[in-house]
Symmetry: C2
Subunit: 323 residues, 2 copies
């Protein structure tokens, strides 16, 4: 193992000079700097991460608690993680993937000074982890919008605005009776924050534009078809739909479209591209959410002042299925 002492010896300078060349926290004569840089290259030296973080009290690591379980939209999770990774790397941070989805894992990482900050994904309306991170020595950012966020820092997609946007668009298209086809029953009943916010935005938007709107749970599996057929049978005047269920979308949307109805799909971009005939798409900017969360964490570390809650706005995409 090459250490800073080896580099110092090779460059005939003191250890601290090498350290300062590395950190740039001191002005170094061009000549010295050159010798040190050369020695570092010659010896293929990398500072020992643990030694550095022990001395500097900073790990250059962000702890990430991601839901690796089923039931969440893996595409969205992956994109968010990718966004965090991208922002982290741009700032020379690495990501410690916490293997454990509970408060304990967060506590341990923070208490052990294994991370400088924490990013917690998939935060539910009322989540015990909100209380946990509040009392931790490391700053943290939640992805999701709990009902009682307290003074926690949160980043999320603006589901309410998305619901409102969809309603406005359906009104613009001339519909009178519209519906939101959303998560499976069990998710609806959990009152996951985003489910409720989307519904509120949608219903609010309908009222605003004089639409009659309703909300329906939608199973992910194949019997989604029967469910949807049933709903339309009971409500023949329902002509426009906001669809928010990635599992069911490819199975059900073509059917609704074939029935001559307008479908606005809220889903990741790649999925929208595989379903032809969608009237519009509301893209969830998953990667941006991740990047925003990482930046929030870095802001907290830097002491930059910022809003506690950052909601990323929805945007309406064109319906560009390739076929």
């Amino acid at each position: 193992m090459t250490t800073i002492a080896d580099v110092a010896r090779a460059a005939r300078v003191s250890i601290s000079t090498v350290s300062y060349v590395l950190s740039g926290k001191r002005t170094i004569s061009p000549d010295t700097k050159e010798r040190v840089t050369q020695a570092i290259a010659d010896l293929n030296y990398s500072p020992h991460a643990s030694a550095r973080s022990l001395a500097s009290r900073s790990t250059q690591v962000i702890g990430l608690q991601a839901p690796l379980r089923a039931g969440v939209d893996v595409h969205v999770v992956m994109e968010i993680v990718a966004g965090i990774a991208r922002a982290a790397r741009a700032n020379r941070y690495n990501i410690l993937l916490l293997t454990g989805d509970d408060s304990e894992a967060l506590e341990h990482a923070a208490r052990a000074s294994a991370v400088d900050a924490l990013v917690v994904m998939d935060v539910e309306s009322t989540d015990p982890r909100i209380e946990t991170v509040k009392n931790l020595p490391a700053p943290s950012v939640l992805i999701g919008l709990p009902s009682e966020s307290g003074d926690a820092h949160c980043v999320d997609f603006d589901f309410e605005a998305a619901g409102r946007l969809a309603a406005a668009r359906l009104a613009e298209l001339g519909h009178k009776r519209v519906a939101l086809f959303g998560a499976p029953q069990e998710v609806m009943e959990r009152h996951t924050s985003y489910v409720d916010r989307l519904r509120q935005g949608f219903i609010g938007g309908c009222e605003e534009h004089g639409l009659s709107g309703s909300v329906h749970a939608c199973p992910t599996s194949t019997d989604a078809r029967a469910t949807v057929d049933g709903i339309f049978a009971e409500n023949p005047s329902m002509t426009g739909v906001l669809f928010h269920n990635e599992g069911a979308l490819p199975h059900v949307a073509p059917r609704i479209i074939a029935g001559g109805r307008d479908v606005i799909a809220m889903c990741p971009e790649h999925l929208a591209r595989t379903v032809p005939g969608l009237t519009d798409t509301i893209i969830v900017p998953a990667e941006d959410i991740g990047a925003a969360a990482a930046r929030a964490a870095l802001d907290l570390l830097a002491g930059t002042k910022r809003d506690r809650i950052e909601l990323l706005p929805p945007r309406l995409g064109s319906t560009s299925a390739e076929a």
Copy 2:
């Protein structure tokens, strides 16, 4: 911050005693152990990860390079990561997600002693990272089977056996003319290792069982339908299919099934469940692959002797779409 010295003081023992209580590397009198344990609990003490790894020369961290880009099957990636995470946690390891998909990221992590071992996902047939990890101070495990694996340790799904298994099953079902519908053209042309191995196994299996078999690229998007229709139009006697393309499966498989043909799908379990009528399923045991890779890494760290290449066998699942 609570340190080991605080604990030692509270328990009225020496620092080393606390350390030994924690590590269990020394026999401690019940009385002392009790006092130390109590003090640790009272003070809510967690050892400082960096300090520990600096002194012990071990980080308890596995570096993971995962493909966060598009084009790979995110479900599979996530499941593999989950498998690694599970095995890692079971052994008190954490995972450092390397933000960077190149050799440099691997080098840096290893050289900086930020990780004890590396797991590299999505390794292609000929991958520069194979050479990179060979010369690193940390042991590494590749997920994938490069054509020249050298003395690298590899874990992967046994795609060849899977192809063979599918052919055997199609023969058993009485088919004479069968096909493998696989990755999109561009992936086929890259000769990604698994694509070739699957093809070889399938063709080999066909020969073995006297089947006439062919291999076809399959676009992921909606024009998969046209492609597939074209193939069947040209080969009306083709009655059985091994389908290996998660993106196209939900769009195309129902159509093939409706045409009265047998479809064996090779895909993650959750996807198989959304497509009714599949004759059989070959489940890619993604989570097991991750777990196996993690265990391989831990074995290397422990010096346990093991095979360089571990291929996980395919298994035929029943066709249990819920509908």
